[in-house]
């Protein structure tokens, strides 16, 4: 009965790996507390920086008696990893570390995460649960277009796919021509890559006369590693007929597979038996109740290599209070609308790039090929958005293009409340990315 109720859809029964997603709530909370207590003890004993911070707050591991007590613990932030580079936050001896992953830092040195065998196995489980949630099964052929190597994207999805039993095509990033050829020739049904790279593939595919509905077997896209919008999902789904899923993760917490959205797209289900979520007020650092917007914070309940206590992600979201129709008990958070790092202050107004994107994509036939430029002219901030014209929006009439320009300008202004100069640019003239795409240039 349980398996029928929780079926992915009429044709796809629930995958056994998803069982923890449906754990009764009281059991889940008890498990989280048990794991948290173990984690705090581990970190206190093995990581000098955290022990020092806990001692300063006069907090001992035995003070953690309920999940609420997590707020007694100190936060960790990205600069800790930089300051303690390379191994300062490791909680396991090198003998137990089996793999490193790195994330690029903005200032020279990368941040280094150590994984034990235990961490790699749990990460694989998390990625399997994410894929299973999307409806990926052993009969699928999965093209992993995320980069392999120090970056977590490729290997994370790779082991997830193998765990499910998919035929994995570890093609990694780059070489669009080959990506499209393999997609067609191998009968790829699932693609995992950044949403901006998939848009690039759609574009290049269309140029070569590929109809994604007819010529490919693609059913699912597993998109992550950069923030994207609901409007972008609609564009991708309409252009290709696939279901676009949002996968969330960050190197510091393990990589992809921290959370993922199910077919109901009510937000991203957090695999919270491993990654305990909190929302805090980024200013006061107070923990906020579910339902309120703030900064996402994760505690890696089960990790042993480089475990994180209350790691501040800088991602802005909220935890949904309404349970999802899919029946999972693990909570969801709202699609990441912004990173506090990405916030632009333009003429005194807070603007997030994702707001600009949703304004842009509300206009029919506009594709998300754009760049945002912020500059200063005299004392005034100037916001310019360059948007490519496409074969759909291109016209032989000036009037039509001017109308498009003013429609975009109005739609964007409606959302961000400040005016922006819209510049139409030639098709394919803006940068495309094979990894994470930076669409903002702040020249102030």
């Amino acid at each position: 009965m349980f398996y029928q109720e929780c079926a992915h859809d009429e044709n796809t029964p629930v995958h056994p790996v998803s069982a923890p997603d449906y754990m009764p709530m009281d059991q889940l909370r008890a498990l989280q507390l048990h794991r948290l207590q173990g984690l705090v003890k581990r970190v206190y004993e093995n990581v000098p920086l955290t022990r020092k911070r806990m001692d300063e707050r006069k907090v001992k591991p035995e003070h953690i008696k309920s999940l609420k007590d997590i707020s007694l613990l100190p936060f960790s932030v990205k600069t800790d990893l930089r300051d303690e580079y390379p191994f300062g936050l490791f909680a396991s001896p090198m003998n137990d570390i089996v793999r490193f992953h790195c994330s690029s830092g903005t200032t020279g040195k990368p941040i280094v995460i150590g994984n034990t065998k235990n961490d790699i196995d749990l990460w694989q489980q998390a990625c399997m649960r994410a894929l299973a949630m999307c409806g990926v099964r052993s009969s699928d052929v999965m093209q992993v277009t995320y980069g392999y190597g120090l970056f977590t994207g490729g290997l994370g999805l790779h082991y997830g796919g193998e765990g499910i039993g998919c035929a994995v095509l570890p093609i990694s990033g780059g070489n669009t021509e080959r990506q499209l050829m393999m997609m067609l020739d191998m009968g790829v049904t699932v693609i995992a890559c950044t949403p901006s790279y998939f848009l690039h593939l759609i574009d290049e595919g269309h140029k070569r006369g590929i109809d994604f509905r007819k010529d490919t077997k693609l059913k699912h896209g597993i998109f992550g590693a950069e923030p994207w919008t609901e409007e972008m999902r609609t564009k991708i789904e309409n252009a290709t007929g696939i279901i676009a899923h949002d996968i969330y993760g960050l190197t510091e917490i393990c990589g992809p597979g921290v959370a993922n959205d199910c077919r109901f797209h009510n937000g991203l289900h957090i695999f919270e038996d491993h990654f305990y979520p909190e929302i805090i007020d980024p200013e006061t650092q107070e923990t906020l109740p579910d339902g309120e917007a703030g900064e996402l914070v994760f505690t890696t309940l089960t990790r042993t290599g480089t475990p994180m206590l209350r790691y501040r992600t800088r991602d802005i979201s909220r935890i949904n209070t309404k349970p999802c129709q899919c029946g999972r008990t693990i909570r969801t958070f709202e699609r990441i609308s912004a990173r506090s790092d990405d916030m632009l202050i333009i003429r005194g107004v807070n603007v997030f790039p994702s707001q600009i994107e949703s304004g842009l994509l509300k206009i029919d036939k506009v594709l998300p090929h754009y760049m945002i430029y912020v500059s200063r002219e005299g004392d005034l901030d100037k916001l310019e958005i360059q948007v490519e014209v496409t074969s759909e929006t291109l016209s032989d009439k000036i009037k039509t293009l001017e109308k498009l320009r003013s429609e975009i300008a109005q739609s964007v202004q409606h959302i961000i409340n400040i005016s922006a100069t819209i510049t139409l640019v030639e098709p394919h003239s803006l940068p495309r990315s094979e990894g994470k795409l930076c669409r903002v240039k702040d020249m102030r």
Binding site: V389, S391, D396, K397, L401, T423, L424, P427, H428
Partner: protein
């Protein structure tokens, strides 16, 4: 009775027009006539070429996005008042001209007008009824 015009979006920057012309030159496509509409920011170049399909393919493989439109070509006498006469016919039909451009042939006393009408079929009907010479592609390019 209609002919195909190709148009391309251009950023208002040095070298952008020539990139298009260079592609056509390399493909040995002659431009019969063109018009360039410009705004402060961008422009649209509209081209009449003999083999528009070949031109479109060449431009698209060079990475351009090409818009194809049907326009109407009509001849007028190349002397004072020639244009006014044909516009009288157009005005009477109630059809609006979105834009137009003109060119003359070297060895002919006639000029050719290229029209983009809001209602091309109605315009052609009115022009033909008034005895105007509306050209098809064969007639246009035999000159």
């Amino acid at each position: 009775m209609k002919i195909q015009q190709i148009s391309l979006f251009l950023e208002n920057k040095p070298g952008h027009l020539n990139a298009i012309c260079r592609t056509l030159a390399n493909t040995k496509i002659n431009i019969v006539t063109l018009s360039l509409a410009d705004t402060q920011q961008f422009g649209i170049v509209r081209l009449i070429v003999e083999d528009w399909k070949k031109a479109k393919d060449a431009l698209e493989s060079a990475g351009h996005v090409v818009n194809v439109r049907e326009v109407v070509a009509a001849t007028i006498a190349n002397n004072p008042g020639g244009m006014s006469e044909i516009l009288d016919t157009v005005d009477k039909s109630g059809v609006n001209i979105e834009y137009m451009y003109a060119f003359t042939f070297r060895h002919d006393s006639k000029a050719v007008l290229i029209f983009r009408f809001d209602n091309p079929d109605k315009a052609i009907e009115a022009l033909t009824a008034a005895g105007r010479d509306v050209l098809n592609e064969v007639e246009l390019f035999k000159h």
